[in-house]
Every structure is written in C-alpha cells, then in structure tokens.
C-alpha cells in the first residue's frame, strides 16, 4: 500500500530552514512572468505563419547578411575580450597597486551604463571628426560605420563577463601553485601555459561564451557606431527593430526566434561543457 501512496520528495523530511514552499512558489511565479511569458508570447506570434513563410523571412538576403555581420563582430569582440579580460583579471587579482579598487569598480561600468550612452560616446569618439577618428582615419583605419566599430562596441559592453568569471577562479588559485611550478624548474611561460591556464580555462571559455552571446543581442551600443548600411553594417537586432517599425510583428518575431535559439543553445553548451571540467577539479567523476 505504501508503495502507492503519493509523496513529494521534499515532504519526506522536516526542514530546519522555514519558508521553502513560499519562497520557491514566488520565485517560480516571478520566473514565469518575467522570463517565460514573454518567450511564450514570442513563439505565439509565429503561429499564424507557415513554415515556408518563416523560412523566407529568416533567409532573406539582407537578414542573412546581418547574421554574418553580427556573428563576425561578436566573434572578434569575444576574442579581444578573452585576451584583455584575462589580463585585467590577472592584474586585479595578482598585483597590488594604487587605484586597484577603482579599476575593479570600473569593470562594472559597461553593465551599469545604458548601452545607448556607450554607443553615442563611441560614435562621437570614433567618427571622422572625433578625437580618435581624427587620428585613425589618416592611417586608413575606419572604425565608425564599419565592422570594426561594431566589434568595438560589442567588446565594450561585454568585457565584464570575462573579467567577472575569471576573477574569482583566479583568486581561488593559490599563489603557491605557481611557486610550486617554479620550484620544479618551470620557466614563467611554461608555468603559465601548463599550470595556470588549464585551471582558468573553464572560466575563461564560459566568460568568453557569455560575452559572445551578449554581443549577439547587443543593440543600443552598436547602432550608433555601425552606420547601419544594408548588407554591410546592419546587425540582426537592428533587423528586428526595422521589422517592428514596419508593423511586421510576425517577421520581427521570426528573426528574434533565431537570435533566441542560438543564444539558448550556446548557453546550454557552455554549461554542459563547464560542468564536466568542474567535476574533475572537485573530485567526483
């Protein structure tokens, strides 16, 4: 008889910490309202559309060109951030210098700053008569209204992802580990490549992946500097915006669903991959 009785797993034992039911309930409600409901709405928009219509919208040449621009921009931004984010995290964790706290706080600025503000600032700075633009243009480096500007804006808004994921892992790596490697005769480069980098690798890949995903969806910071020339410097988020302005809600949703699917898949892949690594570092197989 007892085998048939229904029992929820969390009812089997008395909890010491109160409020489990209430807090979980509120959390789930919140997640549903804020995350799931809009996502469902997005998919709902697509229901009036046939598969061929959907396919036609998402493979429209101008949209495909925007995928290429977005992905290559985000990829360049992610690689730049991986290198400089790692360096920044290293400097912030391993050295003491005046102004360290300030630099640390500054790392969060791209999160806190409205992306449109960042976009306008960058556009002003790098336009042909801006401070940086004036210097770079004669050298033949055109930043604004080109993919370089897009990558730059994406890198600006997503650098905290790398710094903030690598930093705690680096703090967790005791200085003794480098000392051990050096006492065993390893040159600096060898110690870094064989001892420090493998330890940071999962965090670095995760941070870079998050930065990449974030860059895929970046809008505010990019559109001011990108120039938005069709087939050349239009990003996918802008295509969604354009569709919306034309009151083509279904078209906008179709493109948005692609961005959403790619982002979710990447996040899932990063999490699975990272889980494997972390299990090894902490024992269980």
């Amino acid at each position: 008889m007892s085998a048939l009785s229904f029992r929820l797993p969390w009812q089997s034992q008395q909890r010491v910490l109160p409020g489990f039911g209430l807090s979980l309930g509120i959390s789930l409600t919140f997640v549903s309202l804020v995350l799931l409901l809009p996502l469902t709405g997005l998919v709902g928009e697509l229901k009036g559309m046939s598969l061929s219509q959907y396919w036609a919208i998402i493979t429209e040449p101008r949209v495909v060109a925007s995928y290429v621009t977005t992905i290559s921009g985000a990829a360049v931004a992610a690689v730049i951030n991986a290198a400089f984010g790692l360096l920044l995290a290293w400097v912030l964790v391993r050295y003491d210098f005046p102004g360290k706290r300030l630099l640390d706080a500054l790392m969060d600025l791209p999160f806190a700053l409205p992306t449109a503000v960042a976009g306008i600032t960058l556009a002003t700075l790098y336009s042909s008569n801006g401070w940086m633009g004036q210097l770079l243009e004669p050298l033949g480096w055109k930043v604004s209204y080109s993919w370089v500007g897009i990558a730059l804006a994406m890198a600006f808004t997503s650098i905290p992802f790398v710094v903030r994921t690598v930093q705690p892992v680096l703090e967790d790596l005791p200085a003794e580990v480098d000392e051990a490697a050096m006492a065993l005769g390893a040159r600096d480069g060898v110690a870094f490549r064989r001892v420090i980098l493998p330890h940071l690798w999962p965090a670095l890949v995760t941070g870079t992946g998050l930065a990449f995903v974030r860059s895929l969806g970046e809008f505010g910071a990019v559109i001011f500097i990108a120039g938005n020339m069709p087939y050349e410097t239009e990003i996918t988020s802008l295509m969604i915006f354009v569709k919306l302005q034309e009151y083509d809600y279904a078209g906008a949703s179709a493109i948005a669903s692609i961005v959403l699917a790619v982002s979710l898949l990447l996040l899932l892949a990063i999490n699975l991959w990272q889980g494997r690594f972390i299990r090894r570092l902490h024992g269980g197989r």
Partner: protein, 364 residues
Amino acid sequence: MSIRLENIQKHFGRSQALTPTNLHIDNGELIGLLGPSGSGKTTLLRIIAGLESPDAEVGPRILFGERDVTRVHVRDRRIGFVFQHYALFRHMSVFDNVAFGLTVLPRRSRPSSGEIRAQVYRLLEMVQLEHLAARYPAQLSGGQQQRVSLARALALKPEVLLLDEPFGALDAKVRQDLRRWLRHLHDELGFTSVFVTHDQEEALELSDRVVVMSNGRIEQVDTPDQLYRNPANRFVFEFLGDVNHMEGEVREGVLTCGDAKLHVELPEGHQEILLRPHEVTLSTSADEIAHLPAIVTSVVPVGAEIRVELTAEWMDQPWLATVRHQEASTLGLSRGKKVYARPLSWHHYPQGTSAAAQGAAQPA
C-alpha cells in the same frame, strides 16, 4: 649539501620579519625551524628556497655547499619544496603532477617519456601510491596528497628539501605516520632537509637540531635533548612545554606570594620562578620548605600519568602537575580537594639576561 646563511634580514614594508640572521646547516642534517606564528620561520625557509629575497643592504649571502645562490632564481636553485596545503596541480593526475618537474626540463636534458614513466613509478612506489597514479588530487585524502607533493618535490633529486609546515593540515594519526616516514626517507636518500613547524613535539621528535625562533630572531639552535634540558632563555623554556609560574617578593630567602611561601636561594626583591608540571609533587600537608596551598580543579588521566590542574588565589594562572596513578589514589585526588604543591626543582631567568639559574628544593 650544507647550507650557510649570512646576514639574512627581511622587511615587509615597514615591519621587520627577520633580524639579521646567520645559520649553518650541515650536509645531511634534518633541521626543524620552530616558533610561534609571526616568528619569521616561514620567511627564513622561503628565503632559503628563493621564494623571497633577503634585504640587499645588509649584504646577505646564501651558500649551498660552495655554490653562492643568493641571486639565483628559485627554479635554478635545485631545491625540493613542499607546501603546507600541498599546492598540487588540480587539473593533472597524480602521475602528471609527479612527472611535472621532469617534463619541464630543457629539451636536451629531458629524459625520454619511457624513462620519465619509470622514474615517476619509482617515486610513487616510494610513497606507496602507485595504485593511485591515474587519480586526480581532489580524489585523494590529505595525507595522500601530501605524499604526492613529496614525490613531486623529490622527482628532480634535489639535495635540499624544504618543507613549510608539511603536516600542519593533517590529523594527528596521519601526521605521526608521515613524520616517521619522512625521517626514514631523509636517512635513506641523504638530502639536507629544513622544515617549519609550530608544533614543539614535532620539532623535537623529527629534527637532528632545532632552530627556535621568535620575533624574527633565532633564540637557540640545539639538539632536541639539549634544548629541553638547557633552554637558553625564558622564551625557549616556555615554548617547549607547559610551564607553571610563581611570582612574588623574596625576603630573607623566602619567596612570598599571598599565602604561598617557598624557600629559595635568590636575591632580595621581586622575582619569578618557573617549573614544569613534572617538577611539581602534591601532598596533603605543607612542610618547612614549601607552603603552597591549592585546590584541585580537574583530574585527567593522560596515558601513564594523571594531569592535575590546580588553582589558588596566589596563582595568576592555574598550575599543572603530573602525578602517577598510584600517587593520585594514595592522595585521594578529586575535584575540590585541598592539597599542597611542592616543587622538586625550579628554573629562574633574571630579567633582561639570557643566563639561567636553576634551583632544587630538597628537604633540609
């Protein structure tokens, strides 16, 4: 390989971690650096290793045998270093950890992978961990990790092995085993070892000679036996075991402190005597030498002896006395019983000097 240290001094910012220090360690010796935290023992060890550099202005010199290594980087000093928290490479298997030193050798002196394999297994066999070669550090116990770390440090056959509180993070039983095992390894392989510890028992048990340090200074360097019997000063005496204090005025050869009186041969004035727990006996009555009334507050059997804690108004801190089981039952020791302590002998360190005086309180 012998180690000679001359004028080793270290400041961290404005605080002085080591006052200028000289030390000579003979070839093949096992030396314990003993001291409380902040005594400079770890700093001294790290300077020997080359992980810290001594202050340059006092002309420091570090010699390994005839080789001057003062300005030699840690990676070229050819030492083995064992860290308190093992510092194993967590992303590498046990095998790869031990092989690390061999695999980072410059290409022309690097052994072939077959030789590395054979050598690593030889080392793992020595630390009795060859069956765990494929495991990751996180899957090992603390004692096993420390053995891996030792095997790793020994892979390059260093002539100097330095250990920073190597057993500090392990539990008592494992620590005991590893100590015995380190002693054995040291005697068998014949390297020179220096280890840091704050545990006086560990230092006395394991070392050929112990360097006792406090406040960035070497207080005494001696064999464990000499150290215990002839402590150079009050600090060493107090650090090497439990100590009972009695402080008071000496007048006409009697040290008085509250209602406690003891005949001593000390100059007139304010004096303090120190005694070890085994130098205290207990009786039910006072005699003409000592009148030291006290109340028993705890009676704890510790192995072959019974440890008795005593309090009285004249004591600043409770006294400890160790008595035999038989004695304890004759006296009928129990909590709350009033007894009289009688020193068998005592120690006296005059203020501001390192000379020691000892006295024996034999019945007249």
